[in-house]
């Protein structure tokens, strides 16, 4: 087998992220992903081009969208001969898509591909409940009019109550926020530290808009040209006034301000070999060099739901021969401010690193000035599957602007999973 090839991140594009039930309330996942993809095609001049593949996904998906990404490609400006498939790994979807596209490029199976993700918390799939579903299927099977009547007679008023997807873990029935609140308590993450992180996220994102950083990363959509959740005028004092929403009583620390809101949006990233990029008049912004996934057993309480990245990163560092301090940028997805802070505390903790990670010494502190320098999910919002693409594109551009360097991406996902990667230039 030949050596793996370098995987370049060439371009990225997304639509601004909208708050739930605002501008994108009538936009479907397909609409939004098409908009993000077409924006990417326009900017890179790839109209009519056949790519190796397009990989994307959505966490909240309608049953009719069983082949969503392929349908999006067919409705996009790419050649209709571009293959595509759907992928779902909760909030890790977008980054996992980039890893899979990157792996095919590295192995020489494709030359270029797009990785993306989309989610709508507004246009959520509402399902009929299981009992009604069974009745309707039986109705379909019934042969005679009499049989149909018999089946219909089984319908009870409560059967017409629809099932709305919940942002909760099926095995613990706790919401992600409730899980994160427990982890925050276990790690002693304070309200002040969380509000401070949220504040910096807003300030960093606002500053990055001000310097035009997002001009070639975003395509305006449905009246938005900026992330709707961004509050450039927020202050630590304002954040400190918000009521807690997760956890109870005086030990609760998590608010709507230091937790990500439900949002709608889509993102797409173009990856390719150096040669393919040059042939198409494009240039690499950065290279995807390492990736790792990990999962934790949060069900039995052995570990917090969102702590998997704390396990994935050291595994990846060991394989890459790097330390946690060997990075110029850290992109730690802010599902909740407490999640980021608990992860950082865990890496600094000698007991955690020894007993849970099996390391001789803690991974240590990171330079906070290098963390989420252009803002992250607390400010931008977090349409689950779209976050990976947002981060990969922004970090690649940041590395390029910097004239090189190395960046770490860490994303926690439902089900106790974590997806992490390294971009370098």
């Amino acid at each position: 087998m030949t050596e793996p090839r370098k995987v370049a991140v060439v371009a990225g594009n997304r639509i601004p992220f909208a708050r739930q039930d605002k501008n994108y309330r009538h936009a479907s996942n397909s609409d939004m992903l098409t908009a993000a993809l077409n924006g990417l095609v326009d900017r890179t001049g790839l109209g009519g081009e056949e790519l190796g593949e397009v990989v994307a996904g959505a966490v909240l998906k309608h049953a009719r969208d069983w082949n969503m990404v392929r349908e999006v490609v067919l409705g996009s400006k790419l050649a209709a001969t571009t293959p595509a498939y759907d992928l779902q790994q909760a909030c890790g979807t977008g980054l996992e898509a980039a890893i899979l596209v990157g792996n095919k490029i590295a192995l020489g199976q494709i030359e270029a591909g797009v990785a993306g993700g989309v989610d709508s918390a507004s246009d959520a799939p509402i399902a009929v409940n299981d009992k009604l579903r069974t009745i309707l299927l039986d109705l379909n099977r019934a042969k005679s009019f009499q049989d149909r009547l018999k089946v219909l007679a089984r319908v009870r008023p409560k059967d017409v109550v629809p099932e709305i997807p919940r942002n909760a873990e099926p095995r613990t029935r706790k919401s992600m926020g409730e899980h994160a609140a427990l982890t925050a308590l276990e790690w002693g993450v304070t309200r002040e530290a969380q509000d401070e992180l949220a504040y910096r996220s807003h300030m960093n994102l606002a500053a990055s808009y001000d310097r035009g950083f997002h001009d070639d990363l975003i395509t305006p959509y449905l009246g938005l040209d900026k992330d709707q959740n961004l509050r450039p005028d927020t202050t630590i004092e304002k954040l400190a006034k918000l009521k807690t929403v997760y956890g109870k009583g005086e030990t609760a620390t998590m608010t709507a301000g230091n937790s990500t809101p439900l949002t709608d949006g889509a993102s797409a990233v173009l990856l390719s070999t150096d040669e393919w990029a040059a042939e198409h008049g494009l240039r690499p912004l950065a290279y995807l060099t390492h990736a790792q996934t990990a999962a934790v057993d949060y069900v039995k309480g052995a570990e917090g739901l969102l702590m998997a990245p704390a396990y994935a990163v050291p595994k990846m560092l060991a394989r890459a021969g790097l330390t946690l301090q060997d990075f110029d940028y850290y992109e730690i997805h802010e599902a909740f401010a407490s999640q980021v802070l608990a992860t950082l505390k865990a890496w600094e903790d000698p007991i955690f690193c020894k007993e849970r990670l099996g390391l001789d010494a803690p991974l240590g502190e990171i330079d906070r000035a290098k963390l989420n320098v252009n803002g992250s999910s607390l400010a931008a919002g977090h349409p689950f599957a779209a976050t990976g693409g947002r981060i990969v594109a922004a970090l690649a551009k940041q590395l390029d602007e910097n004239g090189g360097g190395r960046g770490l991406i860490s994303i926690c996902a439902a089900g106790g999973q974590g997806v992490v990667a390294i971009l370098e230039k």
Partner: protein, 448 residues
């Protein structure tokens, strides 16, 4: 929770019904309150000959300011209503002398006051000088256990075995069994060995000590934390993050510190040690109270249900104890206390997992007691019976009612009863008390 039946029996109508129908008549048990004397009534002392143990007992009775008389002074015939009867049987060298028990108790037992105390002190049978003495001493157990079932109105009967030359260790144990602190400890046998003589201030025996209490947010654990703090200890309360608010309430009322973690976590022992070292310079007392039930008959038992109970109730105490000893976090002269259960002794339908874990706690005590002796670290366990908590309040009515009544005191115990027993174990003056499993069950018929 309130025992409605017991409340009803205190009404005039209730008393009439109880008397005429022969229903259970549970006497409300007084509990110790701060500043109260060890015992608030006269004590009658009896013995088989003059022994060093007898002298030690009488010295203690004088020390606590109890008005006491000896049987020889003819108390039995007086109008005195003794609050406690203390009998030194260490002098029984053969079964012939057992008749002294009948001679001493029969005339006086009817006079015993409400919530009275009967304490028989014997020689540890295994350490007896002769086979004859061993037989006689072993026989005492049958006597106290039966008398426990005979005495009425909230009185208790307990047997204390003292090793040869260990009479100087009796102090904290006799204080405990004489006082209302042992209200729900009945029909028990405690073995006291030799140890260093440690004098503690009875009003704050745990002053300057640091105590770890797992599962401290609620129920029995909260009572343990409060009681140890009352006795002067600095308490580190441990509970899972889910109970953070309850834990904060407990700890903020008593001082000390909170540690939120799951005792089954792989690094829980290390985390506990680090917290104790960093904030309090180590530990003197460890109370493994955290426990859960997941009842299922074995045929329906799921792997995770079994594992969860064993992990929390047994493996966590085992791992935490081992680490605290190995790391030296637990100071020499310290005390480890496990929480077993009468289910671990008697077994219980639907509790194979729970009873396995709780019997394992007894194993933990027995395995470590001899090993830790050289570091003068003591290890004991309490085995609660039916204690009135949120957990037992959820037991179905009929089962709960049976659980409450099938013991000599005909009522459930309070969390504080378990806590007081633990405080007695934790007292540095209990240096000779190790390897014991003391039931706090009102002399339950289960597994007795």
């Amino acid at each position: 929770m309130t025992d409605r039946y017991q409340t009803f029996t205190r009404t005039p109508l209730g008393q009439t019904l109880v008397k005429n129908l022969g229903l259970p008549d549970p006497t409300p048990l007084p509990r110790w309150t701060e500043g109260a004397p060890v015992i608030d009534g006269p004590v009658v002392f009896g013995s088989i000959g003059e022994t060093d143990t007898g002298k030690a007992i009488q010295a203690l009775l004088r020390d606590i300011g109890a008005s006491f008389s000896t049987a020889a002074e003819g108390v039995a015939s007086s109008e005195l209503r003794p609050k406690a009867l203390v009998f030194d049987a260490t002098g029984a060298a053969s079964t012939a002398e057992l008749s002294s028990l009948q001679r001493f108790f029969s005339p006086v037992i009817r006079q015993l006051g409400a919530a009275g105390r009967v304490i028989v002190v014997g020689r540890t049978p295994e350490l007896a000088a002769t086979p004859e003495q061993q037989i006689a001493q072993r026989a005492l157990e049958g006597f106290t256990r039966s008398l426990g079932k005979e005495v009425k109105r909230g009185a208790t009967v307990n047997l204390v075995y003292v090793a040869p030359d260990a009479q100087d260790q009796l102090d904290s144990t006799l204080r405990f069994f004489l006082s209302p602190k042992s209200a729900y400890v009945d029909g028990q046998v405690t073995r006291i060995g030799t140890g260093p003589l440690v004098a503690t201030d009875p009003s704050a025996p745990l002053a300057g000590k640091v105590a770890l209490v797992t599962g401290a947010a609620r129920g029995i654990g909260a009572a343990i934390a409060k009681t140890l703090a009352r006795d002067g200890a600095t308490v580190i309360g441990v509970d899972v993050p889910q109970n953070a608010n309850d834990l904060r309430k407990v700890i903020s009322a008593i001082g000390g510190s909170e540690l939120l973690l799951d005792v089954t976590a792989i690094d829980a022992p290390q985390r506990i040690a680090a917290h104790a070292e960093e904030h309090h310079g180590g530990l003197d007392i460890v109370v493994h109270n955290a426990g859960i039930t997941r009842d299922k008959r074995l045929a329906n038992m799921r792997t995770d249900t079994w594992d969860a109970v064993l992990d929390v109730n047994l493996r966590a105490p085992e791992r935490i104890t081992a680490h605290l000893l190995e790391s030296g976090t637990l100071h020499d002269g310290g005390s480890v206390i496990g929480v077993s259960s009468i289910a671990g002794i008697a077994g219980n339908n639907g509790q194979t997992n729970y009873a396995t874990s709780k019997a394992g706690v007894i194993g933990l005590v027995q395995a470590y007691a001899p090993k830790l002796a050289e570091r003068q670290i003591r290890i004991n366990a309490v085995a609660p019976g039916f204690i009135e908590t949120e957990m037992t309040a959820r037991v179905p009515f009929a089962i709960r009612e049976v659980g409450r009544r099938i013991n000599s005191l005909q009522q459930g115990g309070q969390p504080v009863d378990v806590a007081e027993t633990i405080a007695w174990f934790a007292d540095p003056a209990s240096a000779g008390v190790t390897g014991n499993v003391v039931r706090v069950c009102g002399q339950s018929m289960l597994g007795a």
